[in-house]
């Protein structure tokens, strides 16, 4: 609203870990699109007598995330049971971590330059996902619900930030950064549409200058960046308005109504659940030795910020290109693979511009991930090399790229076959230049009359005749030579 209130936002992000099996059993996690209850067993369906066995890969990924978020990793953490009754929770409790989380006290850096901010991470803990309810209405109007436990027991991380975010845009930026890091280290797909990344926001406002926090409202299930932005924006406005009107903010849980574009009250604190946490007796404490922590750190992929900085310093690419190239790990890997094939002789900047420019234009047009294009790093390197040595010019290179992007095949073969190899040979170009001059007497006259810029038009005509393959530098030299060699055909310029 107006600048008299300052919003304070903390985020709780749930990320599904990229494991092949569930948190406590061997059921697979690739249930997307599968029929209900086809990826379940006695353990994740909570049958009597079953016991959990922790997925070591989930622990490995959780430690990775903790380290990537600059957290302390607890030598001993513990699982606890969080109780609440709901049919999507087959045991009647969720195995989570309560007072001894795996990782705590970290931070994430968002923004650039002067706008750079470190947002504190309170804790990162592991837990299991719940199943899902499918609400149905029978032909006679009876409303009923079906339980699908395919998702039940999928490993989740809950990442809790400090309440250090002061705008909806920054909140969104923070979640994007988290997602980028999670993807980089292979911990989560971060796919919000599929629910692999989910966000709850705690929003309060206070008069500017006030130190104590206002009453906190939790907005549940913000499942897209757009929702994060809109819901928080709306909630800040709602609270500021209420305070400005002399009202009070109730501590409560609200939901986002996407259609109406407003947040709606769900439950107030009076009805808040008592989760009756207590240590999970079926699991021993989780211990992470210093050796293991170091080993995971050693295996940790280079993080986006570090990679971006290295691209600038090591390869001399522009800051903007470095940002684009490091947004996703796959792109950065691709770029570095191109460089490997190019070798030292070609400047990395040129390769960067081909990746972020021409290749991205095609990929974006077709919404194709860089990992699925026919343009392998090796092929792109070949093309960039040809551009660098002048075997094809940039324009022809673009046409070659478009062709092997569609069909595959070698850039050199395509350029040769299509006659797109650059012509720098004066013997070949001289007749073309002469023909153009013969056919454009008026332009020639204008040039000789002092209108130097007509050279551009003539150059264009030569390029047209050679279907863009002529080397423009050579053509320019030839044009100037021819124009100066035949002064008799027109008035003398001086």
């Amino acid at each position: 609203m107006d600048a008299q209130y300052e919003p304070v936002i903390g985020l709780e992000v749930h990320a599904q870990l990229l494991t092949r099996s569930k948190m406590f059993c061997r059921c697979g996690t690739t249930y997307a699109g599968a029929a209900a209850n086809t990826h379940i067993c006695s353990v994740c369906a909570g049958f009597p007598g079953v016991l959990p066995v922790i997925n070591e890969h989930a622990v490995e990924l959780a430690i990775r995330v903790g380290l990537a978020l600059n957290c302390d990793i607890a030598e001993t953490s513990r699982f606890d049971r969080k109780h609440y009754p709901y049919p999507d929770l087959p045991k009647g409790y969720q195995v989570s971590q309560y007072d001894l989380p795996l990782a705590s006290r970290g931070y994430v850096t968002v923004g650039n330059g002067d706008d750079c901010q470190q947002i504190g991470i309170v804790r990162v803990h592991m837990e299991e996902d719940t199943g899902r309810l499918l609400h149905r209405t029978a032909a006679d109007g009876t409303v009923y619900s079906l339980v699908d436990l395919n998702r039940s027991g999928v490993p989740l991380l809950e990442i809790v930030s400090e309440p250090e975010i002061h705008s909806a845009a920054r909140a969104r930026e923070y979640v994007m950064k988290l997602r980028q890091i999670l993807r980089y280290i292979g911990a989560s797909s971060g796919n919000m549409e599929e629910g692999a990344l989910r966000c709850d926001a705690n929003v309060s406002v206070r008069p500017v200058g006030e130190q104590t926090l206002g009453a906190k409202v939790e907005i549940k299930n913000l499942n897209s960046f757009r929702m994060i932005d809109r819901a928080i924006q709306h909630e800040i406005g709602r609270q500021s308005q209420a305070l400005a009107n002399g009202g009070r903010i109730e501590q409560e849980t609200r939901g986002w109504d996407e259609a109406a574009g407003i947040t709606l009250a769900q439950r107030t604190k009076e009805y808040a659940s008592d989760y009756r946490y207590f240590p999970e007796p079926d699991l021993p404490p989780l211990t992470v030795s210093e050796d293991r922590r170091k080993a995971v750190l050693g295996r940790l992929a280079e993080l986006p910020d570090a990679r971006r900085a290295r691209f600038i310093s090591q390869y001399g690419v522009t800051a903007d290109d470095a940002s684009v190239l490091t947004t996703a790990r796959e792109t950065a890997d691709y770029f570095e693979a191109v460089l490997t094939h190019l070798g030292e002789r070609v400047p990395a900047r040129l390769a960067a511009s081909w990746v972020t420019g021409e290749l991205f234009r095609l990929l974006n047009r077709d919404s194709l991930p860089i990992t699925e294009t026919r343009v392998t790093p090796e092929l792109l390197a070949e093309l960039v090399g040809m551009v660098h040595t002048g075997e094809v010019n940039r324009g022809s290179g673009r046409m070659v790229l478009e062709e092997f992007y569609e069909t595959g095949g070698s850039p050199r073969a395509i350029a040769t076959e299509r006659g797109l190899m650059q012509i720098s040979d004066t013997d070949t170009l001289t007749p073309v230049v002469r023909t153009v001059l013969d056919n454009h007497e008026r332009a020639v006259a204008e040039f000789r009359g002092g209108k130097q810029q007509v050279i551009g038009f003539l150059l264009g005509q030569v390029m047209k005749q050679t279907r863009g393959t002529a080397d423009s530098g050579t053509v320019r030299t030839l044009l100037l030579r021819e124009l100066s060699e035949e002064p008799t055909k027109g008035p003398v310029p001086h």
Partner: protein, 495 residues
């Protein structure tokens, strides 16, 4: 004294092994004999809630084939039965509760899988207090089991069916579960041997949980030797149970002996106090004297926190109950009330109608103990006392190798005599609960009679030192004849 083998089904596991290996009897014949006996006796004893006749005969035929192909093993072809909280795929597993009505587990408990691998024959499933909560088996929603020594008395609990079946000769051995004494106390009341192994010694996978940090599966047998044989088969680490220990499993049977010289037997003053029936105390004191005659050295030890064990147990166990039993909501399996108009009502009426009074009492106590604001005062404090109890046992075991005590303060009591007074019922476990809280092994071995009913002596050992209590119990048993006595009922049923 009549102790010669009159009928194969009255024999020990060791005796049966000889008969089977000598081909004097096939597993199918043995199994049929047990099934007949169950038919003849169980209307009166009511140990069984399910008799798996067809499955038993199938298992027996399979065992006969395995024996014919030259295989042998202590339990191959031996008929047994399981407490009805051990999951058996496709076979009703009720946990003594209405709420699991119609429930057939989709998988086998690890102990059952191990017994099957060893070739044991499943005769059926045994009655128990609902969700193993009780000391008399009167809390079963399915039946009241009688003590074979006196059909008007209880068999103890919660593994009452498991103890009564062995006492009545309805199975060669059985498995029960012990959370606060549920194997040892009914073994004591029914005059059989009952072992609670160290927490983590036997996999709990497939054991329907009562109190996860205390539950442990143990054998009920006619002799200590049989107990050692069964334990060797069911013990050991299980990848499906993260709390099962990686400690190596010795050959318990090979470690049995009859000489107790050098063994130090601790006698804790706190276990010989007012409230124990004089006949029980006299029998146990005589049992301890017998250990001394066998060469053991008696040592006075002190376990001062014993008096707090019971109340501490009744915080921790119900807390875990309130959690473990929250899955029974009528949505996925078992009983569902048709009375609910919506989700919450369905939950409430399902649980109201599905659970018995004792189970509800413990769910409520446990829910309270874990509630926000009470957790520190109850659950956390109870855990601290538990640590103290453990430490006291550790200290005592620096001065002795085995601790001897009564198993139960009383012999079998009349059916219905304690049901109105939960606290009196809880006191049945006053001597068995401390070892449960400490997670250490303990065995109950018959040591005499009082008012014509069996008395059990408890021998408690160090963690993972089942071998020593088995050795002491075995030496004791070999020097006495208590374990050879059989209830009249057994003889009257013929063989």
């Amino acid at each position: 004294m009549r102790h010669e083998i009159q009928a194969p089904e009255g024999a020990t596991v060791g005796d049966m092994r000889q008969l089977l290996d000598a081909r004097e009897l096939s597993s199918v014949e043995l199994t049929e004999a047990y099934l007949e006996r169950i038919t003849a006796l169980d209307e009166r004893v009511r140990s069984f809630v399910t008799v798996t006749r067809d499955i038993a005969l199938e298992h027996a035929a399979d065992a006969d084939r395995r024996m014919a192909s030259g295989e042998t093993g202590p339990l191959l072809g031996v008929p047994m039965a399981l407490k009805d909280l051990l999951s058996t795929a496709g076979i009703a597993t009720t946990c003594g509760s209405r709420i699991l009505q119609g429930y057939h587990p989709p998988y086998d408990a690890t102990v059952y899988a191990r017994l099957r691998d060893a070739g044991a024959v499943l005769l059926g499933k045994l009655n128990m207090d609902e969700f193993a909560m009780g000391s008399s088996t009167e809390n079963s929603a399915l039946a009241i089991t009688a003590n074979p020594w006196d059909l008007a008395t209880v068999p103890g609990g919660s593994s009452g069916g498991s103890a009564a079946a062995v006492a009545a000769g309805e199975a060669a051995f059985t498995l029960g579960s012990d959370t606060g004494g549920s194997v040892r106390q009914p073994a004591s009341l029914c005059g059989v041997v009952g072992l609670k192994p160290t927490y983590g010694r036997v996999s709990r996978f497939g054991l329907i949980a009562f109190a996860s940090s205390l539950d442990q599966i143990g054998p009920l047998t006619r002799t200590v030797e049989d107990s050692a044989l069964v334990l060797s088969v069911i013990a050991g680490q299980d990848p499906l149970d993260s709390t099962s220990a990686t400690v190596e499993v010795p050959d318990y049977h090979a470690l049995l002996g009859e000489d107790l010289r050098g063994l130090r037997v601790g006698v804790p003053a706190e276990y010989f106090v007012e409230g124990t029936e004089p006949g029980v105390e006299a029998a146990v004191r005589e049992g301890i004297a017998q250990l001394e005659r066998l060469g053991a050295e008696l040592v006075d030890v002190s376990l001062p926190s014993t008096g707090y064990a019971l109340s501490t147990y009744y915080i921790i166990a119900p807390a875990e109950v309130s959690s473990n039993l929250s899955r029974y909501d009528g949505v996925k399996y078992g009983y569902r009330s048709a009375d609910g108009a919506d989700l919450i009502e369905t939950y409430l009426s399902t649980r109201d109608q599905g659970f018995g009074a004792e189970v509800k009492r413990r769910i409520m106590v446990g829910t309270y103990a874990l509630s926000s604001g009470y957790y520190d005062a109850y659950y956390l404090k109870a855990q601290k006392v538990r640590t103290l109890i453990k430490a006291e046992f550790d200290a005592a075991f620096e001065r002795c190798d085995v601790i001897a005590s009564p198993t139960s303060p009383s012999v079998a009591f009349k059916i219905g005599s304690r049901t109105a007074d939960p606290l009196a019922m809880y006191l049945s476990d006053v001597f068995t609960i401390p070892a449960s809280m400490a997670g250490i092994p303990a065995i109950s071995v018959p040591c005499g009679f009082s008012d014509g009913l069996p008395v059990g002596m408890q021998l408690i050992g160090r963690a993972f030192d089942e071998a020593t209590i088995l050795r002491a119990a075995h030496a004791y048993e070999r020097s006495t004849e208590w374990h050879m006595r059989r209830p009249e009922l057994v003889w009257s049923a013929g063989g």
